[in-house]
Assembly symmetry: C2
Homo-oligomer: 763 residues x 2
Amino acid sequence: MKKIIAGLCALFCTTAALAQKQPYQYVRPIIGTEKMGHTFPGATVPFGAVQLSPETDTISYAQNGKYNPDVYKYCAGYQYSDKTIVGFSHTHFSGTGHSDLGDFLVMPTVGKLQLNPGTAAHPEDGYRSAFSHKNEVVEANYYKVKLDDDNITAEMTTTPRVGFHQYTFPKSDQSHIILDMMAGLYNYDDKEVWTFVRVVNDTLVTGYRQTTGWARTRTVYFAMTFSKPFSSYGQKNYDAKQVYRGFWGKFDQNKNFPEMAGRKIRAYFDFKTEAGEKIKMKFALSPVSQENALMNLKAEAPGWDFEQVKAAGQQSWNKELNKIAVTTINEDDKINFYTAMYHTFINPTLYTDVNGEYRGLDQNNHKAEGFNNYSTFSLWDTYRALHPLFNIIQPKRNADMVSSMLAHYDQSVLKMLPVWSNSANDNWCMSGYHSVSVITDAIIKGNYTGDANAALDACVTTARHRSYEGIGEYIDRGYISSESNGTSVSNTLEYAYDDWCIAQLAKKLNNTAIFTEFSKRAENWKNVYDAKSGFMRPRLKDGTFRSKFDVLSTNGQGFIEGNAWNYSLYVPQDPNALIALRGGKKHFETHLDSLFTMHLPDEFFAETEDITREGIIGNYVHGNEPAHHAAYLYNYTGSPWKAQERLRMVLKKMYLPTSDGLGGNDDCGQMSAWYLFSSLGFYPMAPGSLNYELGSPGVVNATLNLENGKTFKVTTKNQSDKNVYVSKVILNGQALTRTYITHNEIMNGGNIQFIMSAKPNRK
Amino acid sequence: MKKIIAGLCALFCTTAALAQKQPYQYVRPIIGTEKMGHTFPGATVPFGAVQLSPETDTISYAQNGKYNPDVYKYCAGYQYSDKTIVGFSHTHFSGTGHSDLGDFLVMPTVGKLQLNPGTAAHPEDGYRSAFSHKNEVVEANYYKVKLDDDNITAEMTTTPRVGFHQYTFPKSDQSHIILDMMAGLYNYDDKEVWTFVRVVNDTLVTGYRQTTGWARTRTVYFAMTFSKPFSSYGQKNYDAKQVYRGFWGKFDQNKNFPEMAGRKIRAYFDFKTEAGEKIKMKFALSPVSQENALMNLKAEAPGWDFEQVKAAGQQSWNKELNKIAVTTINEDDKINFYTAMYHTFINPTLYTDVNGEYRGLDQNNHKAEGFNNYSTFSLWDTYRALHPLFNIIQPKRNADMVSSMLAHYDQSVLKMLPVWSNSANDNWCMSGYHSVSVITDAIIKGNYTGDANAALDACVTTARHRSYEGIGEYIDRGYISSESNGTSVSNTLEYAYDDWCIAQLAKKLNNTAIFTEFSKRAENWKNVYDAKSGFMRPRLKDGTFRSKFDVLSTNGQGFIEGNAWNYSLYVPQDPNALIALRGGKKHFETHLDSLFTMHLPDEFFAETEDITREGIIGNYVHGNEPAHHAAYLYNYTGSPWKAQERLRMVLKKMYLPTSDGLGGNDDCGQMSAWYLFSSLGFYPMAPGSLNYELGSPGVVNATLNLENGKTFKVTTKNQSDKNVYVSKVILNGQALTRTYITHNEIMNGGNIQFIMSAKPNRK
């Protein structure tokens, strides 16, 4: 349990305290903040629009026009190994592998005003400050740190749309709060499109920040208010080209000028503070307008009681986390479980104001009628386990997410469902049209109660969008040719799965024509299978398979974030047919065995962005998603005991309660959702199906408190870290003779008991 | 009558036709489009939000980072002497001396697509085209031209918020309509902030254009619709830095990609046309949203009948122009009169959608309750005669303009009334706080019926804004010192006049404290009078007058757009005191005589931006505003006959019915308003007063059809170009023994008769 921060241990590590701890107290937001996890340690409430968190560097995406690979470390702004904090900004993705956001970086300082951030090596040259983890407290919806340079204690908490800062200053005639409107994640020199800052009075400031980046056309509005009036304020405009044209030169715009506008602005607010004086600041966001930001501020955080806001946010975490009550083999497992649950409840994020208004993909403002609008859909990742998890423990929210996807579709001039919904934009990241999986799964499981036929239309129209990433060729040829793009095989496989989802939805809606069309398309995975090599393989337009073929390469040689070994397992909709085509159970199981045990050459790691030898088991890359279902395939080869063994190994090896405890990007909760499902002993191999494959539970007991008022209990007998094999499963008192359970069996309430053993049940 | 275009003469120049002509048929929008007038020839309706007009060049404000003085010619986009047209854009100022706008340049072409504009010397290298004036028809709300390069006839008309294009194409498989989102007036390389273009379907496109320029933070939304579906479309993005980050590269964004976004975009739409085929296009604007632009489009121009829209717009002109029915000595005078009236009814412009919504100075959207919101207030110019003219013939609109100014004030974090209101921005151009003149005049004349005390508060707060252009020093010292800024004298004089206005308003509202404070401030003009030189003169902080003093210089030596000769006459609120201080009537009259007769050295013209020897009479610079009241000062020296003589000379010499017929920038209607007042025989020397100085009418007869249902008639006896002297004035049957009439005498209806003579009445 290395590197768990001292502050938390001091609070929670006694056995007596453990007994009374509530779920939110097991959450360690620091998990995943080191190396590849790309989580952030700062404050947020479940699915909140604000993620108020420290940045430990503001490295640029590009330097001198060239991509800077170090930027990748700062997808969430914070790297545990860093020694300085630049400031606290209000928006962060959780666990992504590319980034954006980092809006409205705030930093308190004392002494001579420094408007440049300074460097990690020399924080004293700028507004950034050294800090150490021993002075850091990291909880759900609470972050505290001492900024060593200026002896300032920074605390922060949030409501859904408001960041609440509390800074404890030393005595100084020159205390400042800096608002850096230029800072941002994955910044580059033309990312800042426009900035507007309006000093309404000596405690209220409103404005907006407009950027182009992963989200191409994005504006975030804000309203910030201080608990104490500032005595003066000012700005510096860093855009050398921005001449004060017209007659703006009449004013000294740098000091006490209340209307700042431009591309590159850093503003500051001055105070005189007594020793130990707290200055509080509330910072509300809106995707619609300054007025809405102010409305959000007043609605969610009318007062100045920091502790009350913190407690309310932590209770909102508790409420969500209580949806699964667990007992575990040990404390670490419980920390892992509730932190995973915490990470699954960060993204997607609320993207609507308290009055229901939001900015749509069409850049018009809309009002969400009857649902909360959400953004941050990293669907290539999250369709697999995150949304299926929501279908069990967040069905209402998941239905709202489906509504948000359909609203996105309605606003899309491309007539496409979201691929990666990012603040009124689609950033088109990764492949597939996996919205259709989420929509199908939600409808088939009875959670989305809107117009299902309209939803099917949206799915079909998206899947027929011929100009999108090879769909036209896929329709015509049955596969995407290797000549067309570098991810032709993985695209073909993913489209085939998505098409199967559409077919399932059509079947449910008795739409025979669509069912027939898409059931046929769902077979297209067969067209990229090369019987000779025994792998899914890039295929040329002429029908032959490409001769150049590296089964280990993940680098654009037909696949994305996975190689032929992993993707050759990717037919979640029909494992039996896959196994049959690949030579039967025995042969297939050999492939699976090899996947988990083979030794990869060093070159593999050199060419693969976010994979290290620690982050894999054999050639099974758990840090990327394409093989997340792989271990469960042993259920289809007649060797579920191998699934059980592998799954427990992954649970143990890839999830640690430490800052570097995640084996890869958490990917907006997908990695954590996998952990939760697998810890509970079942997994949605193919969302769109009502079945969950059984594995080997990691928990001792779990109670799922469902929104329908029922409970589904997972219990174990003889559970231990050694007893990873399931010798018997009893569902509602009856021994189970299959390796799956159904959605209805869960949602109707009941209990499932796993009898554990140190020895595999080979029957 | 040189250069009146052939098309109009063919229509109107027969005597028979003249007899039945309606006022709008006398309007020649071509007047002022050559040299300094800076008017535009295109289509607009009275006070319309859209001014759809050709650009004859798209010269940049700066080249290689250096100001390009040639840009000044293109304040309104069109110079009569040019031989090519670049395209037709939707927003233009009328008669300004700096610029902005030129949004959404549209150009039809045939043949190989050319997305660059080409050059004036080689229009064939780009989308621009040669044209000739013989193929041009220029009417109120109608512009037609043949584009020679591609044999396309372009016609355009408007509604208040919609530009209506009609292009007659030759037969071609490659007909195009180009939408250049980069083009604009006073462009420079970082003026384009962001552009969004959304192809909704094959006849509808929406989007917006965001710029920084004279208006620092400005967005214009649009919705355009075609009468015929385009067969294909595309764009080119000219921002070399705009990498398609994220995964936009999945799409070919250049062709048939419906969501364009970036800083520098030119889009195009392709058609196949038959010979003589007309493609129509409607282009609606909104300051609020794409949706509002579409709403405006549907509300104002639901159909495709070009002739009907044109006729409706022309009738709306007729309705406004009929407010003054005139007979004139000759045809040219009538053309001048109605064209001047046309030019007074272009700016300010409507800045609100059909539902009352508009973007405010605070960059929030607002709803105008009970008034139409206006922008484009060039107040340093227009407080003098344009708004006073509105107080007689557009009182309702003028009250709405006052409401707009007060809304601007409410939205101002600086707590200032507009100086130069420009599309939800203040561009702070020129000096003074002349909103207070407009507000006072409107309230004193009974037109603004809102909360007058709130209006007074706004005036007072603005006038006490110490950090604005020397106001603090002006309050403390009674003048602005020469050390403080280059316009210290003219600022002091203008503030003193504005302060007098505030005092008048306070008096009307029985606010003694404010009346006393501002009456005292109104005397501050005396503090910059140097008895020794006999001129208003820059004064130092120590109280002495600056030794370096060039009485002719207009170039920042204490004055703006006027020299000491002209500004030494600027005390409109108290001419008698000015005359007394300057040595009495005889001495003062000598100054006036010299002003109109002196010979200026050539150096004067070299240093003065928009003044040529043709544009002045002696040292009286009619093309700039500060001496617009000067001739009327003869009424105060006991020599009104000299006023009459000078005024008729100015009317005759400075206003010609030709493309180069304006002696200076029309300045958003101020020059034209001067013409109208002086042609009617009276002039508001000091807005805020109820008096109008009498001059010498240029018309034969005029009937003012007032909004209150009454009429005020101006008649003459013995009127001719030679009989410029007034021997007697009869008001409502009584001989007048004073040299002014009052506002109530006009508004109560009645008639005034001027008995004209070739000889001065020296009594």
